[in-house]
C-alpha cells in the first residue's frame, strides 16, 4: 500500500472536490461553496464496483457511502485518541488503533483486515 502522498493524488482529490464548486455557481445557486464531501466520489465508486455482486449503484448511494466513510474516519479517530489519552500520550500509535478494534463491537469488522 502506497503511503506516500504523491502530488498527483493531492491534485486529484482537490480537482475532484473542486469540480462541484464552479458548477454550483453556474446553476445560480451560490449558497454552498462548501464541498458536500471531501472524499472523491469517483474513488468511492471504484471501491463499490470492486464488489462483483453489485450491478449498479445510484448516485445517491455513492454519495451516502462517501459521506458515511467520512463520518466513520472522524468517529474512529476520536475513539482511538481516547485510548491514547487514557495512556497519557499525545502521540497516537498503531496499537491504539488495535485496541479500539479489539474492544469495540462496531469496529470488529476490521479484525485481521489491517496488519
Amino acid at each position: 500500500m502506497s503511503e506516500e502522498v504523491t502530488d498527483s493524488e493531492v491534485k486529484e482529490s482537490l480537482n475532484e472536490n473542486s469540480e462541484t464548486v464552479p458548477e454550483d455557481t453556474e446553476s445560480g445557486e451560490a449558497e454552498k461553496t462548501e464541498k458536500l464531501t471531501r472524499l472523491p466520489l469517483a474513488r468511492i465508486r471504484t471501491l463499490i464496483k470492486a464488489d462483483q455482486d453489485v450491478t449498479i449503484a445510484s448516485q445517491e448511494s455513492v454519495f451516502l457511502i462517501a459521506k458515511a466513510t467520512e463520518i466513520f474516519v472522524q468517529t474512529m479517530a476520536k475513539e482511538i485518541y481516547r485510548v491514547t489519552q487514557g495512556q497519557k500520550r499525545k502521540t497516537v500509535y498503531k496499537k491504539d488503533f488495535d485496541s479500539v478494534v479489539e474492544m469495540m463491537d462496531e469496529y470488529a469488522f476490521l479484525e485481521g483486515a489491517i496488519d
Binding site: 502506497s2 482529490s13 445510484s58 448511494s61
Partner: protein, 149 residues
C-alpha cells in the same frame, strides 16, 4: 480482474485532513496509525457496500439505493450516522437537481440559437425566392395556361 492496490486506497491527504479536524490541536499521529485508519476507511466502504447490496438483493433490486445504505449502517451498528446523512443527502439532491436544470437550460438555449433566423438559415430566403419566381411565372404563364373553351 487485476486491481492495483492504489485504486482501493482513499487519498491520504484527504484522510489526514479529516482526522486532523476531528482531533484537538497538538495531537500527533504516527504514520502507521494514519495508514491504519486510511485502510480501515477503505474496508468500511467495502463492508458497507456488501451489506447494502444484500438488502438490495433481498428486495430483488439490482440497483443499490439510499435505503440500502441506511439499512446497512443500522446492521453495522453505525445507526447514529443516519440523521446527519439524511440531512446531507438533501443538499446533495438539490445540488444534482440544480446541475440538471442548468444543463437542460444550456441545451435549450443551444437549440433556440440553432433555429433562429438571425443566422441566415436557408428556410426563409428560399421561400422568398420561390414566391418571387412564382410571381414572375404567373405573369408569363398567364398567357400560356389560359385555355379558353
Amino acid at each position: 480482474m487485476a486491481e492495483k492496490p492504489e485504486d482501493l486506497n482513499l487519498p491520504t491527504s484527504v484522510i489526514t485532513r479529516i482526522i486532523k479536524e476531528a482531533l484537538p490541536d497538538g495531537v500527533i499521529m504516527s504514520k502507521e496509525s494514519r495508514a491504519a485508519i486510511s485502510k480501515a476507511a477503505s474496508v468500511f466502504v467495502l463492508y458497507c457496500t456488501s451489506c447494502a447490496n444484500n438488502f438490495a438483493m433481498q428486495q430483488k433490486r439490482k440497483t443499490l439505493k439510499d435505503v440500502d445504505v441506511y439499512a446497512a449502517l443500522e446492521d453495522m451498528e453505525f445507526e447514529n450516522f443516519i440523521p446527519l446523512l439524511k440531512e446531507q443527502v438533501e443538499n446533495f439532491k438539490r445540488e444534482q437537481k440544480g446541475k440538471k436544470v442548468a444543463s437542460e437550460k444550456r441545451k435549450k438555449a443551444k437549440e433556440a440559437n440553432a433555429n433562429s433566423p438571425t443566422d441566415g438559415s436557408p428556410n426563409k430566403p428560399e421561400t422568398d425566392v420561390e414566391m418571387k419566381s412564382i410571381d414572375e411565372v404567373d405573369t408569363s404563364a398567364h398567357d400560356s395556361i389560359v385555355i379558353d373553351d
